[in-house]
């Protein structure tokens, strides 16, 4: 059995940052493995540990810089990695779901996995859509926002819980092959062991270009055009307490006491 897990390196914005046209200026960005994908990776590795002969392959659409993040996934037990990148992608401001779907579909065609795990959302552009879109494109079944997974590979089903709003969970049977978008909290992502980190150094990260995937530049033409980016106007009409921490605390304490909070 083969599990394909999508892994995105996301950019996080520092507290103080500046915009540079349609981007956050590079010096204010920090890169990390997407929070949701950390849980997807753990889930994939657990499937491999609980079943015989499972290969876990990760796929990332991202520049060479992402290799560092990919190594983290490899150190946690992913067997090998694929990284899709191309000059044609350099100039795309916002890679839309359609374009990501076309790229990942081509990878699925090549790898022929039995199950694909994605994160619910990428924490930078937060479409929350790539997994389900991919499923539709490759004619897999799917489930979004999965917070428990019981895989019955022989029976050809995944029994999942989908986390709905307001503390309600939906129990669903999903026929395999399937794409599942994984919600945080589904498991406890492990820390990479020293041995894992060492092993990761010798695992393969295979770079693939558009032509390697049988695609051309039209595959990454985004139908969404980023036209503006700005810091949202703060709508705050909060009363701010200024000064040293002790002063701030004292002022807040007065407000609370006046409202009867904490008054014995």
């Amino acid at each position: 059995m083969k599990v394909l897990v999508t892994v995105k390196e996301v950019a996080e914005v520092e507290e103080d940052f500046e915009l540079d046209g349609l981007h956050v200026a590079e010096q204010f960005l920090e890169y990390d493995l997407n929070e949701w994908d950390e849980y997807a990776v753990e889930e994939a590795v657990q499937i491999a540990e609980e079943n015989d002969d499972v290969e876990v392959v990760s796929v990332t659409i991202g520049p060479e810089r992402a290799d560092e993040t990919i190594r983290m996934a490899l150190a946690k037990g992913v067997d090998r990695a694929i990284r899709v990148w191309d000059d044609a992608l350099e100039d795309v401001d916002l890679l839309d779901v359609g374009a990501k779907t076309r790229l990942l579909s081509a990878v699925v065609e090549e790898e022929d996995p039995d199950i694909v795990l994605t994160g619910v959302q990428a924490n930078d552009d937060s479409f929350g859509a790539t997994g389900v879109s991919l499923a539709s494109a490759i004619d897999f079944e799917w489930a979004a926002v999965v917070n428990a997974l019981d895989l019955d590979a022989d029976g050809g089903v995944a029994n999942v819980r989908r986390e709905l709003e307001g503390g309600v969970e939906e129990l669903t049977e999903v026929d395999l092959p399937a794409v599942l978008s994984i919600q945080t909290g589904i498991n406890e992502p492990r820390y990479a062991s020293l041995r894992g980190i060492r092993q990761a150094q010798s695992k393969e990260i295979k770079p693939l270009s558009l032509s390697d995937l049988g695609l051309d530049a039209s595959a990454v033409e985004s139908q969404l055009v980023l036209t503006d980016m700005y810091e949202p106007q703060t709508e705050s009409d909060a009363v701010y307490f200024e000064g040293e921490a002790a002063d701030q605390a004292a002022e807040l304490a007065t407000v609370l006491r006046d409202a009867g909070v904490g008054a014995q």
């Binding site: 709905l164 709003e165 307001g166 309600v168 004292a250």
Partner: protein, 315 residues
């Protein structure tokens, strides 16, 4: 002028709020065009009556199943799209929205924009959305004639005024062979010993607390205030507090007199659970954290400095 097809949402016998918000957003987007509203599954006739609202031109009912099933939704919306040829398909950016909207867009081969907080339609569609955990807002132009859009919950006012749309049962034949998932039940999570929805004062802790050991600090604050401890999601995901302490979209909705958010950024899914609090206090190092947008009282500062001082105030 554009025709819009909006898709209502319901669960366990009740329409969800976003359905009424979709009517508002849909009518705005349609302008002089037609707003079609699809109701798929459940008691479609009762839902149609409830959704006979101002701005809706035609309601199309698809009596197929009791509950949401994404395979049914994708087929039904695609069939309606073919029949009605709307310019835009509008859906909710809910958990079920995430489960079918991307497949609708993909199968219709139209672009998808999710989690819209603003929509403008002048000759083309321009969508406002957030990026980087709400630190940045962006506008995207859709470079196509048609598009599928999901709207954020509680961004548009719900439509309440009654209207007189035509109600039509849509002639739809489900391809059963393409229904490959089955909902087998629902479960309510929770049932711990603490009911955070009952508390007058909540001290709520977020990822700013950094380590499990540090939770004691906020617990001490809660004790000093006679308050109950709740949290944002990552604290529960880490297993530091039980699930019944989680405030937010997938946790509890709370409306205490005071909600003191300590090291919580104020992500939209968190805010969904606490924006109804009477007074919101935010303690956060980042002056631009979205939590300050809805706070009544703000302290820009390090919780490890402020919280001990605050505890001292009440000892």
């Amino acid at each position: 002028m554009s025709d819009v097809l909006a898709v209502a949402e319901h669960r366990r016998g009740e329409l969800r709020d976003v359905s009424f918000e979709l009517v508002t957003a849909g009518a705005e987007l349609a302008g002089d065009g037609n707003l079609h509203l699809a109701i798929i599954g459940g008691d479609v006739d009762a839902f149609a009556e409830e959704l006979s609202l101002d701005g809706v031109d035609t309601i199309h009912t698809v009596a197929e199943g009791d509950e949401f099933n994404h395979d049914v939704y994708v087929q039904a919306v695609a069939a309606l799209y073919e029949e009605l040829a709307p310019t835009y398909v509008l859906m909710g950016n809910t958990v079920n929205g995430l489960d079918y909207a991307p497949a609708v867009a993909e199968s219709l081969d139209i672009p998808l924009v999710t989690d819209a907080i603003g929509l403008e339609n002048d000759g083309g569609l321009v969508v406002t959305r957030e990026m980087y955990a709400s630190k940045v807002e962006s506008t995207v132009e859709v470079d196509a004639d048609n598009a599928a859009v999901t709207i954020r919950s509680a961004e548009w006012e719900p439509t309440e005024a009654a209207g007189e749309p035509a109600i039509e049962a849509f002639d739809f034949e489900l391809d059963e062979s393409r229904v490959r998932s089955r909902v087998t039940g629902f479960e309510e999570v929770g049932g711990g010993d603490v009911d955070i929805t009952d508390a007058d004062v909540l001290v709520s802790v977020g990822r700013g607390i950094e380590e499990e050991e540090n939770l004691e600090l906020v617990q001490n604050l809660a004790d000093a205030l006679g308050a109950t401890l709740s949290s944002s999601r990552p604290i529960v995901d880490n297993g530091w507090l039980p699930k019944d302490r989680q405030v937010g979209q997938s946790g509890k909705v709370v409306t205490p007199k005071f909600y003191i958010a300590v090291g919580i950024s104020g992500a939209v899914q968190h805010v969904a659970g606490m924006k109804g609090a009477e007074n919101i206090v935010a303690i956060n190092t980042d002056p631009d954290a979205p939590i300050f947008d809805i706070a009544d009282y703000g302290i820009v500062g390090d919780l490890f400095d402020v919280v001990p001082e605050l505890i001292e105030q009440f000892e």
